[in-house]
Each structure stands twice: as structure tokens, then as C-alpha cells.
């Protein structure tokens, strides 16, 4: 990780986590909208796994620096994240091949929402802390 000074450390990780949470949200919303579509298969994204993958990732996506004066790009975990088919809900009670479990999706939606809020709050507090330090605690 090459980001320097103020924004090194947990910041890129928090960014990535926020990204993944919002992607997971879109996936869940897509499942909910397609709750009555025949043959639709539910998708899921396990944020924790993806985050771990991104942390341990060898190939980092970022800007290459060919001169010393170049600014560093974002360099945390590379590659596109692809939500997989949700294997835990392949049991379907409907005869139309649809595997969306609406209760699970709604629970996932609010849990994910909470996690997103928590992350956003952490980022916000980090900035607040920095501001306080910059102002010398005034």
C-alpha cells in the first residue's frame, strides 16, 4: 500500500468495504425486484470473503508511477467482483424455478444497510478526528 500520510492504513480498506457493501445492496435489490420472475436464480455476495481476497490480492489495480513526482493511485485489491449464485437458497417451493427467498433477502437488505451505516460512521469519525488534530483540539 503506497498511499501516504494521513490516508494510509485503514482508509483504503474502509473504502473497499463501502464499495462492496453498496454492490451487495444492489445485488439484494435485484433479487427482490425479481422475486416473481420465473427461472430467476438468486445471487449473493459475501463481503467478508471479497474483502479478504482484496487484501491478499497479488495483482493490485492502481496507477503506475513512472516518475517520482507522480501521485499514487488507489492500490488496494484488484479485479472485478462478481456476485455468485446463492447456493444456500437453491431449495425452491415454487414450481417456476425461482430461488429467491424473500425473507432472507429482506433480512440481508437491512443487515447490509446497518453495516453500511456503521462503515460510513467510522469513516466520518476518522475525518472528524483528523480535523480535531489539525485544529489542535480547539
Amino acid at each position: 500500500m503506497e498511499s501516504q500520510g494521513l490516508f494510509k492504513g485503514t482508509m483504503p480498506l474502509l473504502e473497499k468495504a463501502l464499495d462492496l457493501r453498496s454492490l451487495k445492496h444492489t445485488v439484494t435489490v435485484s433479487n427482490i425486484a425479481n422475486k416473481d420472475t420465473p427461472n430467476y436464480k438468486a445471487f449473493d455476495l459475501v463481503v467478508e470473503e471479497e474483502l479478504e481476497k482484496a487484501m491478499g490480492s497479488e495483482k493490485e489495480v492502481g496507477l503506475r508511477r513512472s516518475r517520482r513526482g507522480h501521485l499514487p493511485g488507489r492500490t488496494i485489491g484488484g479485479g472485478a467482483v462478481r456476485p455468485g449464485i446463492d447456493n444456500t437458497s437453491q431449495l425452491s417451493f415454487k414450481r417456476d424455478g425461482n430461488t429467491v427467498n424473500i425473507d432472507k433477502e429482506m433480512a440481508k437488505l437491512s443487515a447490509n444497510n446497518l453495516m453500511y451505516d456503521a462503515l460510513a460512521q467510522i469513516v466520518s469519525k476518522k475525518f472528524q478526528g483528523m480535523k480535531e488534530v489539525i485544529q489542535g483540539g480547539k
Binding site: 453498496s22 435485484s30 460510513a120 460512521q121
Partner: protein, 145 residues
């Protein structure tokens, strides 16, 4: 861009469920209709949903190619229920045949009520999803305040 894609997906769900609701109301209203412009009793209408990859704008297309699976719901068509009409014995009726049977629409009251409830619940689920999307987007705007 993600939040706008999410909103678009949810609103496609709302539209689809509303159409389904309209058809259920249509079916209920015509449960005793024996005359139609096409002749014969009214036939039950049903809706066919299909999922469609989200590719309306450049952002959507990029998102969808990167992540693969996001899809909105689309009404693929409205079909006539192929089940035969019910027959009711009522020799007084002007539409009765020579044996005194009237063909009435192939609609079952309970089925339509259940269909209607299910559409309502799906609609509500989408509304909840939209609310959640909005809350998340607002929370993101709060960062740095």
C-alpha cells in the same frame, strides 16, 4: 452510480407488480362477464415476467459487465389464460347454449385474491428496498460532515 442502478432495479419491480395488480383487478371486475368484443366469455389475463440485464446507460452497462448479474424485471407480455371457461347451468340466460349451459370466465375468485395479496407484498418489498437505498445514499453524503 451503484445507488442509481439499485433505484432503477427497484422501480422496475414496482412497475411490474403494479401491472400485475391492474390485471388482477381487471380479472376480478370481469369475473361474470359473458360477452366480449371478441365473442365468448372474458378470458383471464395473466402477466409474464422476465429478468433483463441492466444496461440502459453507460454506467449501468459498465456495472453490469463488471459484476455480471444485476438485472431488472420486465413485463415480457400479457397472456390469456389457456384454461377452458367454466360452465354454469342457467337456461334463462341469453348466452346459454341449447343444453342450457352458459360459459363463464375461467377465473377463480380465491386465486385472484391470493395473486393480489402476493403482488401487494412484492410491491411493499420493493418500496422497502427503495427506502433502504435512499437511506444508504444519504448516509454516504454524511461522510465528512
Amino acid at each position: 452510480m451503484n445507488f442509481f442502478s439499485a433505484l432503477r432495479v427497484s422501480s422496475s419491480g414496482l412497475t411490474a407488480q403494479r401491472i400485475r395488480m391492474n390485471l388482477a383487478a381487471n380479472n376480478l371486475a370481469n369475473i361474470n362477464t359473458t360477452k366480449t368484443p371478441e365473442g365468448g366469455p372474458y378470458r383471464r389475463k395473466d402477466v409474464v415476467f422476465a429478468s433483463q440485464p441492466l444496461e440502459k446507460s453507460f454506467g449501468d452497462t459498465l456495472d453490469s459487465r463488471m459484476t455480471g448479474k444485476l438485472s431488472e424485471v420486465r413485463v415480457a407480455g400479457i397472456i390469456d389464460d389457456p384454461r377452458p371457461p367454466h360452465r354454469k347451468h342457467d337456461p334463462q340466460h341469453p348466452d346459454a347454449d341449447e343444453n342450457g349451459y352458459v360459459k363463464t370466465p375461467n377465473i377463480k375468485l380465491m386465486e385472484e385474491m391470493v395473486n393480489m395479496l402476493s403482488a401487494t407484498r412484492s410491491y411493499e418489498a420493493n418500496v422497502t428496498a427503495i427506502k433502504a437505498t435512499k437511506d444508504m445514499a444519504l448516509k454516504a453524503l454524511d461522510i465528512g460532515k
